[in-house]
């Protein structure tokens, strides 16, 4: 018997951008051509699997021969021929292209629950999900368990909202169940607006049925007949796969009337977000689904009692919902065995920035930051020194390198002035300016502020102006204290979570990197050499080879110099774009 061969190519955006499409096409063509004859071709199924996590090594290709898995890294289309010839035909893997130790380390400390089927199952095939036990939890619940039992199971698992706030999911469902009302809604919040976070995209693209099953179980528990997924329009592939999955689920009778013959009717509609960060806030999200401007309103009343169209509404994050089927299948005790006393289970993080192995990781709550950065992430890129880790996006804070041994869970992160948030984890190195990072986030929240309440509308604007002044060398004595006082005002008086958390990046950078603020304000220097207005460029005549590249590339015409003569930069014309610094091959351009 000929071996059963399966080739899996990583085709996430990272995979695609590394040439995944070409690799898939090359496999198709090469297999056919190499006379890995028509017969063999029939047995080969080239799945388009979702994210495998270690995007840094893309294109990753898994080759399964008779169930034995081999993984290739950095695959390009022109490598396919040899893989087919030597491995698939010849039976000997191409050793030098296989993944190395880094790949093993990347996975060793991870615990995959939500992501367990991502990159394994074909997200466009419902049968794969069902064969792996999918919709089994739903079937069991509809046949054997009362809504209250489901809620108790979820309560027992200890899972808390993965969107950032960390409210216990079981308690939320319980409150919703007990709220009187014949029409209730469940909404999946897939408006992943935090810059630097992409786990929700990965979950929906990699395993959309787990989210659908999670919503079904939630709907059954609270007594909802209609659900909505509010998803960013910026994620076209996720939207497409979700819609496809919903269609398949409807065909198989998992959605619609009298699901699986039980007295339970439920369906899900997809609502596209139109690009507003504030719509991640639940009352704003509801306004947006209703077709209004997405502006938050004061709570209470909470959506649990008055939500979508004034009806009781539960809003859960994608990752939370995708956990539910696994919890119901394996039990609350199993889930609660991961994590810490107060933060149970796992959390998916998008590990990015100046890290060797950026990617999507799932780790047990309570893991140390050091394990994530050094062991999973492989340390800092280019031999630089770690400076800080930013978690929680614009609502979070920067954790300095000195706190690397802290645990990562809701409580520990709050204690150091940051949050788990939706799961963005951006690694910063010595070349990053912390004042600039704070300015970046405040610029973001200021732009995204809906403008309804004064503390946020005006407060973030004034914070931004102060930070801009400081980074331009116009900082004044007392600015740090003014930033702190204003931050405190915004934090305590803004209407919604966006405003209340907007000062966090400022406060946490002042807390841990005060001396950098002082250097900007007093010495008019940016120690990390990032803030443009505080830099000057000059040419070291001894190193200059007079190649003329900088002169040619300078958009301001600020560089003068004849052939074979060292060049020089006219500071009055220089716009400090840094192009000369980047293009000089002889490192003769200096930045002060």
């Amino acid at each position: 018997m000929k071996p059963a061969i399966e080739v899996r190519v990583c085709m996430g955006p990272a995979g695609i951008s590394a040439g995944g499409k070409d690799v898939i096409e090359a496999f198709g063509a090469t297999l056919a051509r190499a006379g890995v004859s028509a017969e063999v071709k029939e047995r080969c199924s080239t799945h388009q699997v979702g994210c495998m996590g270690l995007c840094a090594r893309d294109v990753l290709v898994e080759v399964h021969v008779d169930g034995e898995k081999t993984v290739y890294q950095y695959v390009k289309a022109d490598m396919v021929q040899r893989i087919v010839d030597e491995h698939l035909v010849g039976g000997a893997p191409v050793r030098e292209w296989l993944v190395d130790e880094t790949y093993e380390n990347f996975y060793r400390k991870q615990v995959k629950i939500v992501l367990s089927d991502c990159g394994v199952l074909d997200p466009e095939d419902i049968d794969g999900y069902i064969a792996a036990g999918g919709y089994g939890a739903l079937r069991d619940i509809l046949a054997n368990r009362a809504p209250e039992e489901v809620i108790n199971e979820i309560k027992g698992s200890g899972i808390r909202g993965r969107g950032g706030a960390g409210f216990p999911t079981g308690i939320k469902w319980d409150l919703a169940r007990k709220t009187k009302g014949d029409v209730k809604y469940i909404i999946c919040n897939a408006d992943e607006g935090d810059p630097g976070a992409f786990m929700d995209r990965a979950v929906i693209e990699g395993n959309p049925h787990s989210v659908i099953e999670g919503m079904l179980i939630g709907a059954y528990a609270i007594g909802a007949r209609q659900g909505y997924v509010y998803i960013r329009a910026e994620y076209p592939l996720a939207v497409e796969r979700l819609k496809l999955a919903l269609g398949q689920a409807r065909e198989r009778g998992f959605l619609g009337k009298d699901i699986l013959g039980a007295d339970f009717t439920f369906d899900i509609e997809v609502k596209l977000g139109a690009g507003a960060f504030v719509c991640g806030e639940e009352t704003a999200l509801i306004a947006s689904i209703e077709g209004q401007r997405g502006m938050p309103r004061p709570k209470p009343p909470f959506p649990i009692s008055k939500g979508l169209w004034q009806r009781p509404t539960v809003i859960n994050n994608v990752e939370t919902l995708a956990n539910i089927p696994y919890i119901m299948r394996k039990g609350a005790a199993w889930y609660a065995s991961f994590g810490t006393e107060k933060s149970k289970g796992t959390k998916v993080f998008a590990l990015t920035g100046k890290i060797k192995n950026p990617g999507l990781i799932e780790v047990p709550m309570g893991i140390t930051l050091r394990e994530i950065i050094e062991e999973i992430g492989g340390g800092i890129e280019g031999g630089k020194a770690l400076k800080a880790v930013q978690t929680g996006g614009p609502s979070g804070g920067c954790i300095p390198a000195s706190l690397l041994d802290m645990n990562v869970d809701y409580e520990s992160l709050a204690k150091v002035g940051s949050i788990v948030g939706s799961g963005g984890m951006i690694v910063l190195d010595e070349d990053d300016c912390m004042v600039n990072v704070a300015k970046y986030f405040v610029h973001f929240t200021q732009e995204e502020s809906c403008g309804k309440c004064v503390p946020c509308r005006v407060g973030t604007k004034r914070l931004l102006e102060m930070l801009e002044r400081i980074t331009k060398g116009q900082g004044r004595e007392g600015d740090i204290e003014r930033l702190e006082a204003l931050s405190d005002g915004v934090r305590t008086t803004a209407l919604c979570g966006l405003g209340q958390s907007a000062p966090n990046p400022v406060l946490s950078t002042i807390r841990y990197f005060r001396e950098e603020y002082e250097a900007h304000i007093r010495d008019k220097k940016c120690p990390a050499k990032v803030c443009k207005d505080l830099l000057t460029y000059s040419v070291d005549a001894a190193l200059c080879k007079a190649c003329g590249v900088c002169k040619k590339e300078c958009p301001a015409g600020a560089i003068a110099g004849e052939k074979k003569q060292p060049h020089s930069i006219d500071p009055s014309k220089c716009i400090r774009c840094g192009i000369c610094f980047d293009v000089c091959k002889f490192k003769s351009v200096e930045r002060h």
């Binding site: 996430g12 955006p13 990272a14 695609i16 951008s17 590394a18 995007c55 840094a56 893309d58 992943e192 607006g193 935090d194 810059p195 630097g196 976070a197 992409f198 995209r201 329009a233 910026e234 994620y235 596209l272 977000g273 139109a274 690009g275 507003a276 960060f277 947006s288 209703e290 077709g291 209004q292 401007r293 997405g294 998008a350 590990l351 990015t352 920035g353 100046k354 950026p358 990617g359 999507l360 930013q390 996006g393 963005g424 951006i426 910063l428 990053d432 990072v437 970046y440 986030f441 973001f444 995204e448 809906c450 958009p555 774009c577 840094g578 192009i579 980047d582």
Partner: protein
């Protein structure tokens, strides 16, 4: 208003009525059909549905997805998410603005060939910095590479 435009708008209004009067849906459909939300469309909806035009403008200016002007022939989307930011996204966008001679506050080049849009995060942070050129992802890119590609696109046209 052109005749074929009216036909499209009529269809959009019909599906809008099915969607329990969701203004966002209406505007998304409009933008899907025309690439932006034309003033004429808003006037038509306002008349047809007896909703003040300000309501539509309130929504289009609130959400970053909506455009009030058509895009250029080539659309470049520069991600300015956090991961891209720390990997030099600002340099890329300022180089592009210079290359396309975009004046302050404008996102489309005067010859109508290029539009440069900024987006908060494309969710492809592991290959930062990221730029989309006419819908195709360019990961781990640089201002150099992107500017070269823009020049190539321009050459192709002439």
């Amino acid at each position: 208003m052109k005749k074929n435009m009216t036909g499209t708008l009529e269809k959009i209004v019909a599906s809008y009525r099915e969607q329990r009067g969701n203004v966002i849906f209406l505007l998304q459909e409009t933008q899907g059909a025309f690439g932006y939300v034309p003033k004429e469309a808003v006037e038509y909806f306002s008349e047809e549905l007896d909703i003040a035009a300000s309501k539509f403008y309130g929504v289009t200016t609130f959400y970053s997805q909506f455009r009030s002007k058509p895009t250029g022939k080539n659309v470049i989307v520069a991600c300015c998410g956090t991961a891209c930011h720390v990997k030099g996204a600002e340099k890329i966008s300022s180089s592009l603005r210079r290359e396309l001679s975009l004046p302050e506050g404008e996102d489309t080049s005067q010859d109508g060939e290029f539009t440069l849009e900024m987006v908060a995060c494309l969710g492809t942070c592991s290959v930062a910095p990221v730029v989309l050129i006419n819908g195709d992802v360019r990961g781990k890119t640089s201002s150099d590479k992107v500017v070269r590609e823009v020049r190539a696109l321009r050459k192709k046209k002439s």
